[in-house]
């Protein structure tokens, strides 16, 4: 390092002298403008103090100067030579100057002056003032002047060294070529970037070595350079390893005193990466632009500057303050919606808002959102809470007033993000909604079909159930007539009989209503239901089947269970299915047929209904398949019952499972979510 530094420094020295590089610092400053001035000066300090000349090369001039000084002194004092021997001290000073050390020059000069004075006084004393005195004075003057000049030269060299260091510090590749094109100077960046060392580069023709390719005509460039002394432009060069560099190049023509061209200083800034980065940036911008324009996802760019200052004015700094303010000023949301400006929307979002050709660019969030939207307040709260993004589902208003269901994600800028724009990504979920609705309808249809099928199985039971009150009605009517037609009518008996007729008529109509409700094809309801009632209604529907099959039914229903939310008919259907399955499972067995239905609260928000039978049980390999569609163990079963039950229960946010117990008996468990807002039904 140090050696090459010296080599370069001396080369530079030579070049600087020849070229009269007075504008050197300007050039360097221009070339290294990318670095801060502080960095440069610090670099110089380090270079100059940390890399001194080697002691050996400094020792020789010092030693020579010392020996010469002693020799001169001895000659001056011991010989009687007439003449200014002391002038020879100048030589010692000049030798000492070769160390380029200020101190060395001063020391040698001082010693020379002192020794001259000593020699003079020793030889001549104070008595004789004459020509020898003049000679001594001339010697002293010569020593002083040479010392001063040496010091000046030392300062100049120091400046040049600093400039050379600056050229080396530059990230730019800097070289000097003579008018013939041969390289005369080659800085460290050139060494590093191009790959040729100083030794390899010096003397080589620059264009050939670097395979320089110009975008302009080479001759035109040369002409421009000669005309103006400068040239700037882009070119390509190839490194030793074959890498092609894209460079910004600046040339300065150097002239000697009489205006002849002595060379060209070329500085080259490697813009390969900068160009690549810029190209990447442009590509990125294009890509994002394309995403913005071509995306099927609607993008809304919002500007909340006004909204933010309004929030600041109202001292709403966090979510709590926001909630507090909202409690007092519920209208605030409306004004906030107006303050949330929309800067830009992409074509996809415009299309979402456009109905048959009428389109307008929305100016604020208020124009876009439906009036009963609740998500904007939530988004504001998320923003105030410092969230990075917020998601939700809401509806936007189309230009014809139609509501469009959408899913959105708002991204908030980070705190330090100067941009500050808020991006909202919006997806139209109309089709998904329709599909969901269709799926729900299909599920309801299927459940209905299953109910019809179930009722088919229950026909005998239902006929019997309706027959009972009908028979009571007719028999009571006939009895009443007979009591009336007796010789002495017994009006009390008539009264009792007619009361019974009325009660039984009502009962029959209740049964019919219950069955009609069970068969009804209506949208899924979400009512708060008392599970005990649901169980008793379901059991009533299958009561006669259970009686026929001699099934002993036991109930264990916890008192005061909280309400569940759901569809009464669908839950009844699930229970009817489970009860019928249990009854059929036990059909024909000689052991007792018992069925126990229990309901209890499992957790704060969970309720469980279980249906346990004393049938043969369910084989392990069939246990999970039970819930698959078209799986059945019954000879005439369709295999849809439990599949529909499970779907129904899951649509209620619950679960339907069968206990994994070996051996006889099966227990089906139905968990249901407790209605959050309902205590006791």
């Amino acid at each position: 390092m140090q050696r090459s530094y010296h080599g370069r420094a001396s080369t530079l020295h030579a070049f600087a002298c020849r070229a009269g590089l007075t504008s050197g610092p300007d050039n360097v400053a221009a070339a290294t403008s990318g670095n801060g001035p502080g960095a440069i000066s610090t670099g110089i300090e380090i270079r100059l103090t940390d890399t001194p000349r080697r002691p050996a090369s400094r020792l020789l001039p010092r030693l020579t100067a010392g020996v010469l000084t002693v020799a001169i002194f001895l000659v001056d004092t011991l010989t009687t030579l007439e003449g200014a021997v002391a002038v020879l001290y100048v030589v010692a000073v000049l030798i000492a100057a070769r160390t380029f050390r200020r101190r060395d020059i001063i020391v040698v000069a001082t010693v020379g002056i002192v020794l001259t004075l000593v020699a003079y006084l020793d030889t001549h004393g104070f008595k004789h003032v004459g020509s020898q005195t003049v000679r001594a004075l001339v010697s002293l003057a010569a020593i002083g002047i040479s010392a001063l000049m040496a010091l000046q030269n030392q300062a100049a060299v120091k400046t040049l060294a600093a400039q050379a260091t600056l050229l080396d510090l530059s990230h730019d590749m800097i070289f000097m070529r003579d008018p013939a094109g041969a390289i005369r100077y080659w800085n460290r960046s050139a060494e590093e970037r191009y790959g040729w060392s100083v030794r390899d580069a010096i003397g080589q023709p620059a264009d050939a070595l670097l395979q320089t390719r110009y975008t302009d005509d080479r001759a035109a460039i040369e002409a421009a350079l000669l005309a103006t002394g400068r040239w700037e432009g882009a070119l390509e060069q190839t490194t030793r390893t074959g890498q092609v560099l894209v460079l910004d190049s600046r040339w300065a023509l150097q002239r000697d005193d009489v205006g002849r061209s002595v060379g060209v200083l070329e500085t080259h800034t490697d813009v390969t990466e900068r160009n690549a980065a810029h190209a990447a940036l442009v590509a990125s911008e294009l890509r994002y632009r394309r995403m913005f324009d071509a995306s099927r996802i609607g993008v809304v760019q919002q500007n909340w500057t006004t909204l933010r200052s309004e929030l600041a004015r109202l001292r709403i700094a966090d979510a709590a303050a926001f909630d507090k303010h909202l409690a007092v000023q519920p209208d605030f949301i409306r004004s906030a919606r107006l303050l949330a400006r929309i800067d830009a929307v992409n074509p996809a979002f415009t299309a979402m808002l456009t109905a048959s050709g009428q389109s307008s660019a929305p100016r604020s969030v208020d124009e876009v959102l439906v009036n009963d939207d609740r998500t904007f307040a939530a988004a504001l709260r998320a923003f105030l809470a410092g969230d990075a993004f917020h998601e939700g589902e809401t509806e936007v208003v189309r230009s014809d007033g139609h509501r469009v269901p959408v899913l959105f994600t708002i991204t908030f800028p980070r705190a330090g993000d100067g941009d500050g724009c808020i991006l909202v990504f919006v997806v139209n979920i109309t089709e998904r909604r329709l599909a969901e609705d269709a799926a729900l309808r299909a599920q309801a249809e299927l459940a209905h079909a299953a109910r019809v099928a179930t009722l088919g199985e229950l026909t005998a039971s239902i006929a019997h159930e309706i027959n009972q009150p009908l028979m009571a009605v007719t028999t009571s009517g006939e009895a009443a007539l007979r009591w009336l037609r007796r010789p002495t009518p017994d009006l009390h008996e008539v009264d009792v009989a007619i009361a019974r007729i009325v009660a039984e008529g009502r009962r029959a109509s209740d049964i019919v209503r219950r069955i009609r409700a069970f068969l009804a094809k209506q949208p899924v309801q979400h009512d708060a239901l008392d599970i005990a009632t649901v169980i008793s209604e379901a059991t009533a529907l299958v009561q006669h089947v259970l009686t026929d099959e001699r099934v002993e039914t036991q109930f264990a229903i916890e008192a005061g269970l909280p309400a569940v939310r759901g569809d009464r008919v669908q839950l009844q259907q699930v229970l009817v299915n489970l009860l019928l399955n249990a009854s059929q499972a036990m059909s024909g067995q000689s052991t007792p047929r018992s069925l126990s239905i229990s309901a209890s609260q499992l957790a704060e928000d969970l309720l469980e209904v279980s249906v346990a039978d004393s049938g043969p049980g369910i084989a392990v390999d069939q246990r999970e398949r039970l819930f698959e569609p078209f799986f059945t163990t019954k000879p005439h079963g369709m295999g849809m019952g439990l599949a529909i039950c499970r779907t129904t229960v899951e649509a209620h946010g619950g679960r339907l499972s069968v206990d994994a117990t070996e051996g006889p008996g099966a227990t089906f468990r139905l968990t249901l979510a407790i209605a959050p807002d309902a205590g006791n039904p």
Partner: protein
């Protein structure tokens, strides 16, 4: 819902008054039947389940049972069989729901008097009940007659029974005497005692009674 017999002291008339026993788990059905039967002057007892009936004290009077084929815990048919075993069986009228044909067939084979499908006309039920009661009355008098015959037969001495058995098989007095190693006159005396004790006038009557008692000459 056990309707106790009238509180007055049981006399012959009260005991012979026909009694309809109703078993149905539906109280409305039970009560309307009860009312219907009472409106035509029948005594009734109604029960919600077979178990209730089995625990109740039922007077032993002519009458019938009106049962629902489907009863909680036990089928009407099984219940009927159980009652027969306990010796408290009566002619039974079954009420069935819709489409219980196989069960009706079984019931008829088990000796049901009638089958009425709900809902039925009151007259049909009353006719069925009247017929059943009549049948019970007849059965009861048959049983009573049988009971008289048996007690008369019990007064015969062993030798008189032997003589009777041979006589009803158509043997002459002389043949009977030969078989039993008695004199003809002794056989004649035994035979006269048999005719007197069995309260018959002719040999033909005696033969009929022997048949009823299951006595054969061999």
């Amino acid at each position: 819902m056990i309707r106790q017999p009238p509180p007055q002291s049981p006399n012959a008339a009260a005991l012979s008054e026909p009694l309809v026993i109703i078993v149905d788990d539906e109280s409305a059905v039970r009560e309307s039947l009860d009312s219907l039967f009472r409106s035509v002057g029948l005594r009734t007892l109604s029960f919600g389940s077979p178990a209730e009936l089995l625990q109740a004290v039922v007077p032993d009077t002519p009458g019938c049972l009106v049962l629902d084929v489907r009863l909680p815990g036990i089928s009407g048919l099984d219940f009927q069989t159980q009652l027969a075993r306990l010796g408290i069986d009566r002619p039974t009228i079954f009420m069935t729901g819709h489409g219980d044909i196989p069960m009706s067939v079984r019931a008829m084979k088990a000796g049901a008097v009638d089958f009425l499908s709900k809902p039925f006309r009151d007259q049909d039920m009353l006719d069925a009940v009247t017929a059943a009661i009549e049948r019970d009355r007849k059965r009861r008098s048959d049983v009573a007659a049988q009971d008289g015959l048996r007690s008369r037969f019990d007064t015969l001495t062993p030798r008189e029974r032997e003589v009777m058995a041979h006589v009803v098989s158509g043997l002459m007095n002389k043949q009977v005497a030969g078989l039993l190693g008695l004199s003809e006159i002794t056989v004649k005396i035994h035979r006269g005692n048999v005719m007197r004790k069995m309260a018959v006038r002719s040999l033909a009557d005696l033969v009929r009674q022997a048949e009823a008692l299951g006595i054969s000459g061999s």
